[in-house]
Amino acid sequence: MQKYDYTKYRFKPKAEILALLDGYKKIYIISCNKCFNELTTDAEPEIAELTQILNEGGKTTAGFMPVDFLCNKFLTEKTILNIKKDIAAADAVAVISCGIGTQTVAGELNVPVLTVCDSLDQGGQHGISLGLQKCGACGECYLSLTGGICPVVNCSKELINGACGGAKQGKCEVSKDKDCAWENIFNRLTLQGRQDLLLSQPPKIRNYNLNSAEIIENYVKNIQAKRNEGFYGGIYPEENKELTSGKAIQKIKYPETVCIPMLQNAGATCEPLVKPGDKVKAGQKIGEAKANISAVVHSSVSGEVISVEQRRHPLMPFSVLSVIIKSDNKLELDPSVKSKGSLESCSKDDILLAVKNAGIVGMGGAQFPTHIKLASSKPLDTVLLNGCECEPMLNTDNRLMLERPEQIITGLKLLMKAAGVDKGIIAVEDNKPEAANILREKLAAETKIKVAVVKTKYPQGAERMLIKRILGREVPRGGLPLDVGVLVNNIATANAVYEAVYLGRPLISRIVTIAGSGVANPGNYEIPIGMLVSDIVKSCGIIIPENFELKMGGALMGFPQSNFEVPVIKGTNGIVVVQKKDVLREEACIKCGRCVNVCPMELKPHKLVYYAKAGNWSRSEQEGVMNCIECGCCEDICSSKSEMVEIFKKSKKMLREMKINANNRS
């Protein structure tokens, strides 16, 4: 494809620039890193060019700042805040940008803002890619009648009722190099045998009011409000929650064997406490956590250990030591499974111990051991229960809130007691109004716990976004929610905490949403930890259609599985069958700016990709790659099909290793 450089501006002539700056001595330069051309360098030479012009005119510079996408008001405001001091020392600000960027800067500052560029007419609106096709944005598309060739953009006179008669040998009278659009239209229609329809049309009159300022302003306001809803960035994926939102939790048919990995948490692998031939009971501890960050593992069935061996893991690229147990189908409980007391009878330490002994980890997917979060020495004031479940298709938290609201509220109170705080918030997205209503009803008499309903947007469930939106606190880059006094837990985790204390039941089963195309019996199932996906496929009647794939987790962040001999683990909240994306090769970044607009961490993903490819790790770190939360918004929207999340994971790994190596050397 021939690629066009859609840079929107060029420098004014030197004399004009100096005439404009007449009367100002000290100039601050803000330069926009041009959009819509290939990203081949992060150096933008315009600043040096302008500095030289200024020097020749006997002026000095007060400083300069290159900015990506100056028209992005939200980020530009922040940038300007950082350089306000330097700007205050200048007589005027010179902006290298298109008219939109300059106006954005001028709107933020109360010093003279001057443009040194002229913006260029593109002759119609281009798409996101750098192709040559353009659209006239007339608001009444004629392409049905014109064989897919636009007369508004391609006819010099923008005629919509046929050729003017001025064309010679297919070329427009305006220029010999320009095709007559109407001749092209006629030829295409003849090829398709459709010319009669066009010829039989009554004359059309263009309505120039379809794109009126008021209509456009309305669109702009609505779109801006939606984009900035709650937090910067994020996306609105198709939810597809209705597939299972009405399905009550049901127990799945328990399998013959389970495969329980010794690694089901963020942190270290457990050591197995059983060997082949051992008889085990459901809820019996079979893996001991020896390291600091780790969580114990229990058997989810009663029966006999048949093997302790390396097996495939649903999340890890390597195999993990796992205990294989043949079930006796009796589900006999271990004697250790008995109530540890109640909210009233248990002390803070009792709750902590119960949570630790139950092997509870964050069940929203991150799998961080809950007892470690709870035992943090940082001062806390709020426990935030995350019931957003912003991942498409999933309904596990939704169903838990609907069916077991009392347990969840008690679980939250236990967490509050263990963390020593007296403020609790349950956050629910507005696409689950029933769940929010039930919780509100049950909490009517409570003063310390409230329900916060937030507008649906991905990745709302990410801790940082949620804390910012609900409490208005900004978790520092590189920091944790605990740093701002907040403990965030998932709904399913609260339910597990309740069960650990009141029933003494360790985390040996969990609710998993099973949904998608080709799933005969979709629903929300209680599934024993260690049940293999291959058994679930049989039990729920899953036949994966062509061009579809099975993911563990949600439709967006879930992990695609090619081999189904992997078990459900503590963090598995969904098994979904979703359409595979068309496999398209990566093209060069064209600086369309979309990734910058969706990154909720306010990073510049396109630049991070550029630095990673150039092996420039120090720039990568400076630009904050370590703060990436791997939500996948940028990759989802990338117009050049870059596998950004994978690139950022590698960048982070690289930087971590470099740090370790540096420490070792010193």
Binding site: A106, L120, G127, I128, G148
Partner: protein
């Protein structure tokens, strides 16, 4: 940048013949895509007897390379359709039909222009791309876009209490320019020195 509105049923129906393939481009969905309206129209067309053979959701139809690759991936769906209805901006429809000149390809949407070139959030500021930027002497406010008449040499005199005669909801661009210049205590000498004539040939 471009956003789309779904066409009315009666503006599409006469053009559909035989098996229909719906192509839905969701590349700009985070800016705007009329998802609800699309579903409603699809249901209406079905009721009206349109044989919707297939529906393909994709993104960035405007990228010719990717659209070519997708032709290979979705060969079967495309081959068996007599009419292809593309729900995208005018660029997407033209790229698609340009690659398949012998296939009947019709637009399902009308395209509108919103200010802003890159990224997602449309800008509250607009640029007329006139090629001779004057906002250096108009206090950073573009008269070409913020004045309804695109005047370059000061206001027309039709504004009432700061509002344009075109609409009560629209500020007079020149009054905004005057007020900001006063606030910045900017010298208006450069603004008053010459009468500007716009060169449409730039």
């Amino acid at each position: 940048m471009l956003i789309t509105e779904v066409k009315k049923k009666e503006n599409i129906l006469p053009f559909i013949k035989g098996k229909a393939l719906f192509i839905v481009c969701l590349g700009c969905k985070e800016v705007y895509f009329p998802e609800k309206e699309y579903l409603m129209l699809k249901a209406e067309l079905k009721t009206a007897g349109v044989d919707i053979n297939n529906e393909i959701k994709l993104d960035y139809l405007c990228n010719e390379d990717y659209t070519k690759d997708r032709f290979a991936i979705h060969k079967n769906e495309i081959n068996c359709a007599e009419t292809v209805i593309v729900f995208s901006c005018g660029v997407g429809v033209q790229v698609f039909s340009g690659l398949l000149p012998d296939k009947k390809v019709i637009p399902g949407c009308d395209s509108l222009y919103v200010p802003g070139f890159s990224g997602f959030t449309p800008s509250s500021y607009d640029c007329g791309q006139c090629g001779e930027c004057v906002i250096g002497i108009t206090a950073g406010i573009c008269p070409v876009k913020s004045c309804s008449k695109g005047l370059l040499n000061g206001q027309c005199g039709g504004a009432k209490k700061g509002k344009c005669e075109v609409s009560k909801n629209k500020d007079c661009g020149w009054e905004k320019i005057f007020n900001r210049m006063a606030a910045l205590k900017e010298n208006d000498g450069k603004l008053k020195s010459t009468i500007k004539i716009r060169n449409y040939n730039k």
